[in-house]
Assembly symmetry: C2
Homo-oligomer: 362 residues x 2
């Protein structure tokens, strides 16, 4: 604390990202990166940016990138907002759309950055418990029968994090029908690993904002690009906030690399299909070791072992050079490990280490 801090700075409880270890030899299964490299076309596009052009500001509106994203998803470029990672996109959505008089709603077990944004922007919120199977119950988010607006907005990831559980599209539509006056943000960071995106609903629901990232399925976590798609009036709010915060949020590498990566559909499909196949294989093997694994629509699995605490398993894996994520959180989350789906050989290393740990302790 310092007498120079603002009251906002004093009140913050910052987000803690997963470790980015500086040892290159670790098997890194802790921050849900893609185990496959980015598209070679994206690498080529970024290489082409190395040069004198860097002395000039980038396009403040990222027109080429937004046009590419629009083409891929079949929307207009004016319906696309891009940011410095989907975290920046989410931050602007909290300030520009979700800061309302009524509290916003999100699950009690979800992306732990949401309450952090709320503190940053002084937004009131309610955390709605997941059900016993760690699923989102849409009924808990619907307007009351008396028609009062009970929330200032709704946000959750689909698939949810860190559970990996997917909410079917029909349920999302039911949520939208029951919340015509509230902005609903669906954070689809992990949707490309087998889920059904809510993007087709954007046309019919003016309150729907869908957020994507290039950090996961596009293997570009190191480049920091995310985007949102919605009807134009929602996108305009994000643009107003962005143009009041930083005119040039995406550097030249980010704009060029992301556009080329989005355009390379073959690479995208190949990488995500490999991850989906490896996930099935990993889940089966973890089942075989006695783990309970939640059904996952993401590039990670959320798993607990009936006989071993999550924190101990994480520490034992770390000793063996394998990093997974354990959340120091309430009772229901504490037993779990969140394990990123790596390549099959990486998963095999993980499984071998777990066999050793379980054998030793069991």
């Amino acid at each position: 604390m310092s007498r120079y801090w603002s009251a906002v700075a004093r009140g913050l409880t910052p987000y803690v990202p997963g470790e980015q270890p500086k040892l290159a030899k670790l098997v890194k299964l802790n921050t849900n990166e893609n185990p496959y490299p980015p598209s070679p076309l994206a690498l080529e596009a970024m290489r082409a940016e190395v040069g004198e052009g860097l002395r000039l500001y980038p396009d403040p509106n990222s027109d080429v990138l937004r046009a590419t994203i629009a083409r891929v998803h079949g929307v207009d470029a004016e319906q696309v907002f891009v940011g410095n990672g989907s975290d920046e996109v989410l931050a602007h959505a909290f300030l520009g759309l979700l800061k309302q008089d009524a509290p916003i709603l999100f699950p009690d077990i979800t992306y732990s950055f949401y309450p952090v944004y709320c503190k940053l922007y002084q937004i009131d919120y309610r955390q709605i418990p997941l059900d016993d199977e760690f699923a989102i119950r849409v009924d808990d988010y619907l307007r009351q029968p008396d028609g009062t607006r009970v929330n200032g907005g709704i946000i959750f990831p689909n698939p949810n994090a860190p559970t990996g559980r997917l909410l079917p599209l029909a349920e999302i539509e039911r949520l939208l029908r029951g919340n015509p006056d509230s902005v609903v943000v669906i954070d689809e960071a992990y949707i490309d690993f087998g889920g059904e995106s809510a993007l087709p609903l954007v046309r019919r629901y003016p309150q729907l904002l869908v957020v994507h990232t290039l950090s996961k399925a596009y293997s570009l976590a190191g480049l920091r690009v995310g985007y949102a798609i919605g009807q134009v009036e929602l996108i305009q709010a994000l643009n107003r906030v962005k143009d009041s915060f930083n005119s040039y949020p995406l550097d030249r590498f980010a704009q060029a690399g992301a556009a080329a990566a989005m355009a390379d559909r073959a690479w995208f499909d190949s990488c995500r299909n490999q991850v989906i196949a490896s996930r099935a294989r990993l889940v089966a093997a973890l089942d075989g070791l006695g783990f309970s694994v939640l059904p996952s629509g993401a590039n990670f699995v959320f798993a607990r072992h009936p006989a071993h605490a999550g924190v101990e398993l994480a520490a034992a894996l770390r000793e063996r050079g394998i990093v997974v994520r354990h959340f120091k959180q309430p009772r229901r989350v504490d037993p779990f490990l969140r394990i990123t789906v790596g390549t099959d050989p990486q998963c095999d290393e993980l499984l071998a280490a777990l066999r050793e740990i379980l054998g030793k302790c069991g």
Copy 2:
């Protein structure tokens, strides 16, 4: 406007950046970019980032970059905060340090993003008039004789923008002595073009935050890197805001390129010295054409012609393929053009066009 926007989004008046023309053939003297390319060592460092490593998140704390900046300026790495361009650094300083009960102070003619940040974060402010020579009068920013704290903070660029006028270091120290309880942010985006930095004062003044950018003197506007230096407790406030907004604001290219550029002192000195020499030459020639040119410590000049309106000159230059900046602002600023110092040949093109325009109209 939309019923889905937050009150904040409704109330914004976003910043309007200078045009980034998509025609490559223009002589671009409108957004104060450096006419020389970035350090070859920086280009090499960025080229080395093109590869599989992009699938991994960057270092959230930019340790290597911060250590390099600290070494260059002779401070500790804990005294360095880095952001996605100095605009992001400034935004975090507004929210984390300058959002106070009392209004903050900045000049009436200055970087036009400051009032935009104030609206974004709902910060009260007072604009203090520059004197008749467009200089900052420190007396106007001092505490009242009764000892009351009259401001919640102070911010201005040095050299000021768009005037280019430099405040001597002794005056900045007088400002700091007179404001022991207020955070004072000196935005030194243009300090490398001949000004004396306030950085040596950081050790003695815990309320001083100095902000720099790599967009100007380092020729890396396209990379988006800025930084702040202050005592640790000020930097901690910025870190708290940053970690509540976006854990990974600098991508891998930005971290590697900026560190290599900062380390290449010879390139930096050579480029800025060329700009300083071209500025002197340009000012003399503009004087010769009848312009009044404010004394500039920056890589731009702020000039007016007694017989020609700024907006008309800007339009006539644009017709001749030369872009300069004219601000549609109050009476005192309206007659001026802000002209970036280009290479000598670019300045010669500008001067030839001005000669033609003045001859035709005069």
